[in-house]
Amino acid sequence: MAANAQGVAEAPFVWHPATAEEAWQLKATLGAEGVFTAGGTLLRTQWESGLAAMPNHLIDIGAIQELHGPRTDSEIGTVCFGAMTTLSEIRTSPLVNASFPLLTEAARSIAAPSIRNLATIGGNVLSIVGDSIPALLVYDPVLHWHDGSSGLEESLSEWLSTAAVHPVWKERLLLSVALTPPTLNSNTKRFVAYHKVGRRDAFTPSVVTAAFSIQLDSDNRLGDVRLALGGGQTIPHRLETVEQFLTGKPADKKTITEVYSMILEHYEPKGDAFVPVSYRKKAAANLIASELWKAAK
């Protein structure tokens, strides 16, 4: 492990641990003075906007081999994305596109290629509001952490439910995000869609980010419904009440009208000075209703 000898504000020490254990030890030792640094793109935004001060120590996790690239478990089709996998690798990977098309779309919608060449999936997830999260949530993601003991696994949904209020995870190193592709039942068709709606195409916080996956059987009935919403400062989540309601229902006008009202009732986005809650709810309800409509046709 190595570091430079600067260590003053604006010229922090940069440590280059070679293993997850070394990185974790450094963080445990440095406490709040040390920050894990992946692509550094979100951190730079936070430093520049004054949201966070540049720390005295950066713990560069780029040299830790096990954090790089996707690995497939061929038996069950689970793919483990090392936390340092860049959004560009995800955007351009045929493997990702074949098994997790919503993730490919999500990566395309985040920033621009030059930023995606640096930015990582780990950094995006740990931002808590990253635009990859709604897409990931559709694939039952599991986070693998190094916490100094035997390692920790938890579902992304579980982590998201407390991440903003209990920052204990900031002491851990995220190793990977594991995804499982949905299986397709016989005589069914799958429909998927990812939308990021913003005031412009790129470089503005999204108003709504929606990821959607359903199966339609030969009787036009809905099954395996997975629906995740986020956008702006809203912590992304699955809409389980709506998923349960849709399961087994026919994809027709009545169902779509009911689901529109349910989303208005159950989705609770965070508003801001530019886009109020009511607008975000309507945008989300319209997106989902229109996707169901397309699938039903």
Binding site: A5, G40, D60, A111, A112, P113, S114, L118, F203
Partner: protein, 177 residues
């Protein structure tokens, strides 16, 4: 720092090995310094432009190992062992000006020219990787480069012209071989 950190000895000085426009270099700079500042202030290579400094405009674009990155976001240590190509390197490689640069000149791909080095780097990275991109692929590749003058029409024409010229050059080389 707590006691347990004392077992980890920092190196005395940092020297970051990399290649810049084909020349080996060793950067003796603070490792978290932005590549943009290293290029412009330490190496007097002012082709990459300074503008937003938060990754939003693309004026500072360079290639690292053949892919475009914003040099205002890239920290010096992230270049260790990597090959950096700046706009100065693009012209030098072509022994004058690159066909992409000529296409920008001929098709009115710029007005004030501030965004142009970054645009050309993004176009070069795209065409080196994908010589015959669709218009959607061109739009995606240039989505991180903002131009406040041209309205993008001239830039799109320039990219199409560069694609044509590169194809012609490739075909005539193949015939000669």
């Amino acid at each position: 720092m707590k006691d347990s950190a004392k077992s980890v000895t920092p190196l005395a000085a940092s020297s970051i090995p990399c290649t810049i426009n084909g020349h080996e270099a060793s950067l003796n700079v603070p490792p978290a310094k932005r590549l943009l500042h290293v290029l412009r202030d330490d190496l007097a290579m002012t082709g990459a432009k300074r503008s937003c400094e938060i990754g939003r405009c693309g004026a500072c674009m360079v290639m690292v190992d053949g892919v475009p990155v914003n040099s205002c976001l890239t920290m010096a240590y992230q270049c260790s062992g990597k090959s950096i190509t700046t706009i100065e390197g693009v012209s030098a490689q072509a022994g004058g000006i690159d066909p992409i640069q000529r296409a920008f000149l001929e098709e009115g791909g710029f007005q004030c020219g501030y965004c142009t080095p970054g645009m050309i780097i993004s176009v070069k990275a795209l065409l080196d990787h994908n010589p015959d991109p669709t218009s959607l692929e061109i739009e995606e590749a240039l989505s991180g480069n903002i131009c406040r003058c041209t309205g993008y029409g001239g830039i799109k024409r320039a990219v199409q012209k560069a694609i044509e010229w590169r194809k012609e050059a490739y075909e005539s080389e193949s015939i000669r071989d």
